[in-house]
């Protein structure tokens, strides 16, 4: 049904004209336009510290979005990421009550993320269940456990050093989170576009059966992708918990939608098989700039969500509308 509009995801050296017409270029143009519009609309926009603050709007989500991009390219999806954040954060909060070291806290957060990812992975790859339903289930389950543990309470009292991950600055206005975001972007970009593993991810997304017969261990690759998504959610949980300084069971509620929006906005085909990390990086900036710019104009958060929703539909609908009208 949709196989005709799926382009072959090779990143061979393409002519300049083709590259100019690519999704990433279009998105970059949108990002620059938003940047200019923002600086015209608000006098407070072009300020190094304000821009640095703006990055916090997307760094945590983008970290998950990188792993999610790989997962969606491979034809699966994980809707439980925000709930993994809640569970990992709850585990860290519980541990923090016993005065453990910051390193232990981080390790706990990451291992809970990995464990949740492994749980999804087992259900999807070993039992052969559809990932969208499994992760809708684990989305309730993981956050549900947080609610059982915390109820209407909150964990506080994180050690002082723990606040570095979400509030620390590496150099001048460059925050730790932003550096982490940049490093992860490079790692994921290399993994997806320059390694055999990345080729396998595309192959699985385009034709899982074909990939299996060409010697790719499909289930193992998918298992690793779910683990990675869990791990990234664990990392995001460390950053978010550190930035907020407290844990409630509703932490990061609804974030999975923003992560998926970011991935789709970045040009990843929701049906799998194509997409790129540079696209996701630019999409992260677009979303961050839109929410921050609207924030400076005193637009309430829920109205921003209209923009995000319209952006999600619009970026997919407009090119299709355009090609329909041209015919």
């Amino acid at each position: 049904m949709t196989s005709t509009d799926r382009f072959i995801p090779d990143r061979l050296t393409s002519p300049l004209q083709k590259r100019l017409k690519s999704w990433e270029t279009l998105l970059l143009a949108v990002a620059i336009a938003i940047f200019i519009a923002n600086s015209l609309a608000s006098p407070y926009f072009l300020n190094a510290w304000n821009l640095s603050d703006a990055t916090f709007n997307f760094t945590e989500k983008a970290m998950i979005a990188f792993a999610m991009a790989l997962l969606i390219i491979a034809g699966e999806i994980d809707l439980s990421v925000a709930s993994i954040i809640a569970l990992a954060s709850t585990a860290m909060g519980a541990a923090a009550q016993f005065d453990v070291s910051t390193l232990t806290l981080v390790l706990i957060g990451l291992s809970v993320g990995l464990a949740c990812g492994a749980f999804n992975a087992v259900l999807v790859t070993m039992m052969g269940l559809p990932s969208i339903v499994v992760t809708i289930g684990t989305m309730s389950l993981f956050r549900g456990i947080s609610y059982i543990v915390l109820g209407d309470q909150a964990y506080r009292g994180y050690p002082g050093a723990f606040s570095y991950f979400g509030q620390g600055y590496v150099f001048w206005v460059i925050s730790f989170e932003f550096v982490l975001f940049a490093v992860l972007a490079v790692i994921y970009g290399v993994v997806l576009h320059k390694t055999n593993f990345g080729r396998a991810v595309y192959a699985i997304g385009n034709n899982a059966t074909g990939a299996l017969f060409s010697g790719i261990r499909v289930d193992r690759v998918k298992f690793i992708l779910f683990l990675l998504t869990g791990l990234m959610s664990g990392i995001a949980a460390v950053c978010l918990t550190s930035r907020l300084g407290s844990t409630r069971p509703s932490i990061g509620l609804g974030m999975e939608l923003e992560v998926v929006t970011m991935v789709v906005l970045g040009g990843v085909n929701i049906l799998g098989g194509s997409g790129s990390i540079p696209g996701v990086v630019i999409a992260a900036f677009v979303m961050g700039l839109v929410t921050f710019g609207l924030g400076l104009l005193n637009v309430p958060g829920i109205v921003m969500s209209i923009f995000i929703g319209a952006l999600l539909i619009g970026v997919i609908a407009l090119p299709r509308l355009w090609s329909m009208l041209r015919k």
Binding site: L123, G128, L129, V133, G137, S140, I148, I302, L312, R320
Partner: protein
Amino acid sequence: MKQLIKSREAILTAAIVVLLGLIATRFPAFVTPGNLAAVFNDTSPLIILAIGQMIVILTKCIDLSVAATLALTGMVCAMINVAAPGVPVFVIVAVAIGMGMALGAFNGVLTWKLGIPPIVVTLGTMTIYRGIIFLISDGKWVNSHEMTPAFKALPRVAFLGLPALSWLAIAIILIAFVAMTRTTLGRAFFAVGGNPHAAVYTGINVGRTQFWAFVASGGLAGLTGYLWVSRYAVAYVDIALGFELDVVAACVIGGIAISGGIGSVGGAVLGAIFLGVIKNALPVVNISPFWQMAISGSAIIIAIAVNTRAGRSKGRVILKKTEAEA
């Protein structure tokens, strides 16, 4: 295949009976007819929404915007009632259904005409519809004392011992049952999900059928929006937030295959009742309501594991056999 669905519904019915039995051993008051009727009434909105969602899932789509559609129409109904208290309730109900259908039609057109994957469409409209509530209401609540008594009374009108809300749910179950098994469109929903290519060759327009599925789901969500607001006598931005997951959960537990084509009205209703019984039983057996979320999550995972094992696709089996022989 029919046999399989029947047995699946039988399993679910047995599970509900066992659940009720377990509760009854310690809290006999829970299984009195009066209380069971109350549980059914409380579950009615979920049942109505699950039927709409079932139709959408049958056609290989998913509607994540049901809760937002519900909330938006509910808010509009409440605001109409406040602005023009003279408008009769049946007009408001008609507006609710019509508006819900229009919101569903928007989802449907994007899926049908532009070929955008339904999960993306409804993820987007979910946030858009929810945002529009804030825009039109300015974030304010519409409270009980602002609504007219007639507006609030409809779901509570008792008839033969059951409130109108329950009767509406029963009526919708019956209509849906007839529509799904005895009409061309109803069969088309199954055909589109079961095998879209074969459906095209039998003269079914796949996109249009999916469009009507979204319209049906939207219309039911719109109706539920009015019922919800009038029953709880309050309307605000966050009503039914996250309820779409309960609705999808009810369908999955009810044996509706997420890959489309397999399911039944009975399954969706039983799935909803299963969740409704758990939700109502938790406070009775003295478990904190905070357990609800984890329990419905586990129920989804167990249900999907059982269902997928029962209905594992044949293509997969052949592939594995070939692999083993080679």
